[in-house]
């Protein structure tokens, strides 16, 4: 019950979006707009080798041909984005190279404190190495030494390009090619930073790796790129949390995440996404257009996505698994909560190519206020995927009569020995359950928070401990004000 009390307390405490503050740090910015010059500017800023610049330019030139191909199939409504009205690079100014956390700008550290991730404390207590991305540049990487000794590479992407070019070259774009889709192509051209993780053969990474992303500078799109490679027999759990300060304009966030799991490797990728959702009238908020995909390359490999999506004005996100290796496993657990004028179109793709591949999808959508929440998922069984197995369960909960909940699954099966199952339900919060809670002295909001947390339990349980608590709080906070 401790968690429940905490949830209830959080609902009471938080009246507004509690991360709505702006850190006042002078930025090093690229000029407004997007052209080849900007891409060269970004690449030069990062001191990138020639091949990296070439890759970016290739993506940019391809992107120009996609002018009409901006995805329009999702159940989302938003004004056309002017890609020339955004800044594509913003880095906090640094005085000198940093060697320890003490040298990090105290204002930045303060920001993270407000977000509830005190780096210093985490280093000592939680055993979590945090690669903190502040706008576009990683400012502090903790626990690096310890991980290095084990052979784990956990570095900002820009550093990995210099130090491990052979790995980056080999795997960059191998899961999400630069030509994949409109937003991924844009990201390939202008990505500024992100995380790079390599887990060596046979190693079970002893700590959870975590990155907190933050959008800070006004009018900046954030385009980070994450690449995680789990070599044979390794295991890693990666956490990603997102919060952003309050802004009136919509901000674009188009990230790409690529995961590669080789033989017998396992990657667990957890996200709590809490970008600024805009105000009650739908003003402001983040446009979250993210391409996340994992390739289970090796036999017996496993990739597990867990996401808790509570923020963003618009979420367009489909963390997927390509199950190439025999006996590989893909799992997707999702909670998506939309309230006020938020819109979410999210789901997954499970592409079964290898024999005896298995996938499981559990999606919980909660819609309140004037929000629209869509689950969109694809399960495709290739002709050679003998013995493939899929189970999908999508449940939607509607709170109030002005919101929408939609389920759009695609099931394409080309193999007779494969079994696919899909189930979906839509309903509202049970009056009986509400009555039961109210009768025991809980307020309407406490009761709804408790019931919704119960509805999402199956997904929240898959989160690592540190995240599970935060996620439970978020579930309550997100529905705040939309009940009763």
């Amino acid at each position: 019950m401790a968690a429940t009390r905490e949830t209830a307390a959080a609902v009471r405490d938080v009246e507004q979006y509690k991360y709505g503050f702006v850190t006042d740090i002078e930025s090093d910015m690229a000029p407004l707009g997007l052209n080849e010059g900007i891409i060269r500017f970004i690449s030069a800023k990062k001191g990138e080798p020639e091949w990296m610049l070439e890759w970016r330019l290739k993506a940019y030139r391809y992107w120009l041909t996609l002018a009409d191909e901006e995805p329009g199939w999702a159940k989302l409504r938003f004004p056309k984005i002017d890609y020339q009205a955004s800044y594509y690079y913003a880095a906090p100014k640094r005085k000198a190279a940093l060697t320890s956390l003490d040298e990090v700008d105290p204002k930045l550290l303060e920001t993270y404190k407000k977000l509830g991730i005190p780096l210093l404390e985490q280093q000592i207590l939680a055993g979590v190495a945090v690669d903190a991305v502040f706008d576009s540049v990683s400012v502090a990487t903790t626990y690096k030494k310890k991980l290095e000794q084990l052979g784990v590479i956990f570095a900002p992407f820009s550093e990995a390009v210099h130090k491990h070019p052979e790995l980056v070259k080999k795997y960059l774009g191998s899961v999400v090619p630069y030509s994949d889709n409109f937003y991924a192509t844009l990201n390939s051209a202008v990505f500024t930073d992100g995380s790079f993780v390599y887990i060596p053969k046979g190693l079970r990474c002893p700590m959870e790796l975590s990155t907190y992303f933050r959008i800070n500078e006004k009018n900046t799109g954030q385009f980070e790129r994450t690449l995680i490679i789990a070599d044979e027999g390794s295991y890693v759990s990666y956490l990603e949390g997102c919060t952003a300060p309050q802004r009136d304009e919509n901000q674009l966030h188009a990230a790409v995440v690529e995961l590669v799991a080789l033989d017998d490797a396992e990657i667990k990728y957890s996200t709590v996404q809490n970008w600024y959702p805009g105000d009650a009238d739908g003003k402001g908020g983040i446009y979250n257009f993210v391409t996340k995909r994992g390739a289970c390359r090796g036999k017996n490999s496993k990739i597990m996505w867990t996401q808790v999506e509570t923020g963003s004005a618009i979420t367009w996100k489909y963390p997927s698994c390509i199950l190439q290796g025999d006996n590989s496993v893909g799992e997707f657990y999702s909670v998506a909560i939309t309230s006020n004028r938020q819109q979410a179109d999210t789901g997954t793709k499970m592409i079964h190519l290898g024999r005896n591949t298995r996938s499981k999808i559990v999606s919980k959508g909660i819609s309140a206020g004037h929000a629209d929440n869509t689950y969109r998922g694809l399960v495709r069984i290739g002709a050679k995927a003998d013995g493939a197995r899929n189970y999908t369960q999508c449940d939607s909960l509607l709170i109030g009569s002005t919101c929408g909940a939609h389920t759009v699954p695609y099931v394409e099966n080309r193999n007779p020995t494969a079994v696919t199952e899909h189930e979906a339900t839509t309903s509202k919060i049970s009056e009986d359950q509400l009555f039961y809670c109210r009768q025991r002295g809980m307020s309407q909001e406490e009761a709804v928070s408790l019931i919704v947390n119960g509805f999402c339990r199956e997904v929240l349980q898959t989160l690592p401990m540190e995240f599970a608590v935060e996620a439970q709080k978020l579930v309550g906070i997100s529905l705040e004000g939309s009940v009763g």
Binding site: I399, T402, G404, T420, E421, H422, S427, K428
Partner: protein, 411 residues
């Protein structure tokens, strides 16, 4: 519309001129990038040089093709290439039923194929039913091409007056070995407390195209019970939209498909819940053999005001060999909170345990497989409330099973 969403279609273009009104589909058919048609490509159709069926008058049909069942007690209405044939039809449809061949009437469907039909259909057939004790109607639509592939566009309207109850059985067949394109549009209106039972069998020839669009609106207290069977054709799509127009209306829409060879069959359904207190249920079952392709797309739409809606949908399909592809896309689009909506979809092969169970009791593998497939499809056929019609559809499936060598044992 993006260029990737259409395919040019000279034949549609010629027809569109007759329509007089500008539509986005002028001269085009939906392309593979068009969401509603992603599983059912029309490339082959667009590349076939069809002529209007009326121009290929050299083939005449003087009797019903073999395989069309004779239904005792039902009045027969025959269309050949979409035109009403008085000589093959019954003269008397009993009291309360009026058959008229009127000028083409307007259709509420804006789908590209309904527009194509509107552009070309010369005369529509209207069935108006009122009063108690109506005689069932057996509608037979026969496709007959000449030397050239022929296209025809039957246009049918059915109205059922308040409180009346009508049963209609439709058989869509063709002369063997011919390439034709049947593009029927059916408009059905059920008045308050009216009741319609509609049983449709599409068993076109293996070279034939059949793209049917049906729109059914149900007023308060009205009810629909429908069963659609798809037994073949080169490319068949049964597109069914049910609109609930008054409180307390109910629809049971069920179907089955059994495919072999290179058949392609697509069930696309929309349950449009616009008013409160309506119920809909759907059960679709399919089996696919050879290199066939089965598609099920079912959308349940619940509008903001349609509180207390109860909508359910189920699609299950079985693979009978290694060749087929089965795609399904059940979809829920819900804007009201006090509703109960659910859908389920599953695909797989014959359960090995069930097979083992039957074989352990001395039944040979071929018979065991046959029994299991029959049992699987029967679950949907059982939803038919008229025993005679149920038997008819069961026989059709039995004949399909016999004609297929599905019984041959596979690993």
């Amino acid at each position: 519309m993006k260029p990737s969403e259409i395919i040019d279609h000279p034949f549609a273009g010629a027809y569109a001129k007759r329509l007089g009104v500008k539509t986005p589909w002028q001269g085009h058919l939906p392309g593979p990038k068009m969401e509603a048609w992603r599983f059912t490509p029309l490339r082959t159709l667009a590349n076939t040089p069809f002529v209007p069926a009326s121009a290929s008058a050299e083939v005449d049909v003087t009797e019903l093709p073999r395989g069309v069942p004779l239904i005792a007690g039902a009045a027969r209405l025959v269309l050949v290439n979409g035109a009403y044939r008085e000589d093959l039809s019954d003269a008397d449809f009993g009291p309360g039923v009026t058959i008229s061949t009127a000028e083409a009437f307007a259709s509420s469907s804006r789908s590209p194929l309904a527009l194509l039909n509107a552009a070309y259909a010369s005369a529509g057939v209207s069935i108006d039913a009122a009063g108690p004790g109506l005689r069932p109607i057996h509608l037979v639509s026969i496709g007959a091409a000449g030397a050239e592939p022929a296209a025809f566009h039957p246009r049918l309207r059915i109205t059922v007056a308040p409180g009346a109850s009508l049963t209609i059985i439709e058989s869509h067949v063709g002369l063997p070995g011919q390439t034709y394109f049947s593009n029927p549009v059916t408009e059905i209106a059920l008045a308050e407390n009216a009741n319609l039972r509609r049983y449709v069998s599409v068993a076109e020839d293996s070279e034939a195209f059949h793209l049917a669009t049906a729109t059914i609106s149900i007023a308060a207290g009205g009810s629909l019970e429908a069963f659609h069977l798809g037994l073949g054709g080169a490319l068949v799509r049964q597109d069914i939209t049910v609109r609930f127009a008054g409180r307390g209306a109910a629809a049971r829409l069920n179907g089955a498909y059994a495919l072999s060879g290179r058949s392609h069959h697509d069930f696309t359904t929309v349950m449009d819940h616009n008013v409160p207190d309506c119920r809909s249920s759907q059960v679709f079952k399919g089996v696919a053999d050879g290199d066939s392709h089965g598609v099920f797309q079912g959308r349940i739409h619940v509008a903001r005001d349609a509180q207390k809606t109860d909508a359910r949908q189920l699609h299950k399909a079985l693979f009978l060999s290694r060749g087929p592809e089965i795609d399904c896309k059940p979809e829920l689009e819900i804007y009201a909170d006090d509703v109960q909506c659910a859908h389920g979809a599953a695909t797989g092969e014959i359960d090995h345990d069930q097979l083992f169970y039957l074989m352990s009791r001395g039944i040979d593998p071929a018979t065991a497989r046959s029994l299991l497939v029959e049992g699987f499809l029967t679950e949907a056929v059982d939803e038919i409330s008229v025993p005679e019609v149920q038997a008819l559809f069961r026989d059709a499936i039995g004949a399909w099973l016999k004609s297929r060598d599905i019984a041959r044992a596979r690993p």
